[in-house]
Symmetry: C2
Subunit: 271 residues, 2 copies
């Protein structure tokens, strides 16, 4: 039996179109799917929504908006991302907030721009019925992807807005090292702020660029079970998305990757 | 004029023996040197001490002890490191505390072993007149190098011991991303815990393995000046060690690298 609460994130099966990923989920009995925008745009937004609705899978998130520190603040693209989320039937848009602008050393300034960008996007998201999920990124991505570096910092930001509008992502890969992570998960849950839980595992050595170093749950040093259980205990009853960026996994046929996901998920929760 | 408080860490000029590095410092008017153990052992401990004393440079630290999470807890090697520090005339031994043990996901357990290892080493260090400087490592090294991931966590550990015995390293490369870093630097200074300040800069993309990605101060996105100034304001009157792991810089003649250090240091503090 496929374990409940398992969701596939389309970044894990990069070789699959949206239709293939959805079919793969249905075939494997996976009830949820987190979708990246490249897959949505490739299919067309309306068609993507149709594929997802027809299959009856839960769309757990759309990845991603953000990059508020880009020269244009990501403004128009973020509004489109909100609209796409609504169109494909998810109320969660994941925000990767952007790094330190090229040539700058003003980290506080970049963080202020993130706050301002969220404040600007929030009304449009609210009117579309989409909640914005701030994803704290591992500090190794602070320079170039996300200046929101800890779950506590993400919550400090989110709590400036209503819980119905802004929450956080708990991605085990980004937060496992944080001495405060369990306290912050409890805080996030108590405030109704956990909008997405994502998992993968940490292995070394990191590849060049650091982005594609993630591994299947169980292959690395993250206590994924403890993190997921903490989210559950804090009130998160939703799906657990497996999101793995890894060149070798991308070369693997999607059905085999999905079978591994199911297997690892079952092992994880049978312990 | 060579700016005051600039120190060379021998890891920056990997092609130089200890004698060459010391001569390079004297030539460039650099008054301090942080020494790695490979350079000490290559010269022989007694000879290394002689070289350093003869040159009259301040030995700002010995790098490194630690790796408390290794199978043997690094026990004997750490005692030798303490003895070497005393022998070469520095009272600061930098501790890189070790990662998550192979095959384990027990991060809390690894962190407990670090605390126990420090407690075990502390009396020997105290009797040798050597202070142990816990170096919080960037979280990207949590798995394989250091489970002490933030300055706050390093201080939580250090403060379990007298300030005369245990302190911390503030390495800009490891801590720049931390939303709490300035508060923690103030806390470290107030407690007399800043035993070493190290600098380099963060550039992307990270190379494979993530270790050798550091750059000259001024080439990246770290506000090094702000971090050093915060340490100074917190009471650190000692040297600022430049420690850069970078394959390209290692291929550069030492004298040219040192000239760059002097130039960057001058630029940094003239702003």
């Amino acid at each position: 039996m496929t374990p409940p609460r398992l969701a596939l994130n389309t970044a894990t099966t990069k070789g699959w179109t949206l239709a293939e990923a959805v079919a793969g989920c249905v075939e494997a009995g996976i009830g949820g799917i987190g979708v990246w925008r490249d897959r949505v745009q490739e299919a067309g937004v309306a068609e993507a929504g149709r594929i997802l609705r027809a299959a009856g899978v839960s769309v757990t998130s759309l990845c991603r908006g953000g990059f508020f520190t880009a020269p244009d603040g990501g403004r128009d693209d973020n509004r489109r991302a909100v609209d796409e989320a609504a169109a494909i039937g998810t109320d969660v848009l994941v925000l990767v907030c952007g790094g330190v602008p090229e040539g700058s050393t003003d980290l506080d300034g970049a963080r202020a721009r993130v706050r301002d960008g969220i404040a600007e996007l929030a009304p449009h998201a609210a009117s579309a019925g989409v909640r914005l999920a701030i994803e704290p990124m591992h500090p190794m991505f602070c320079a170039d992807r996300g200046v929101v570096s800890t779950l506590g910092q993400a919550l400090d930001l989110a709590e400036q807005f209503p819980a119905e509008q802004i929450g956080v992502v708990v991605d085990a890969y980004h937060v496992w090292w944080d001495p405060q992570v369990y306290a912050e998960i409890a805080r996030a849950g108590a405030g109704g702020r956990i909008l997405s839980v994502q998992v993968s595992d940490w292995v070394t050595p990191l590849p060049a660029g650091a982005l594609l170093g993630r591994a299947h749950v169980g292959d690395g040093c993250i206590d994924v079970r403890r993190i997921v259980d903490a989210c559950t205990a804090a009130g998160h009853a939703g799906f657990v998305e497996v999101e793995i960026f890894n060149e070798e996994i991308w070369q693997t046929p999607g059905a085999r990757t999905v079978a591994t996901l199911v297997d690892r998920h079952r092992t994880l929760f049978s312990r």
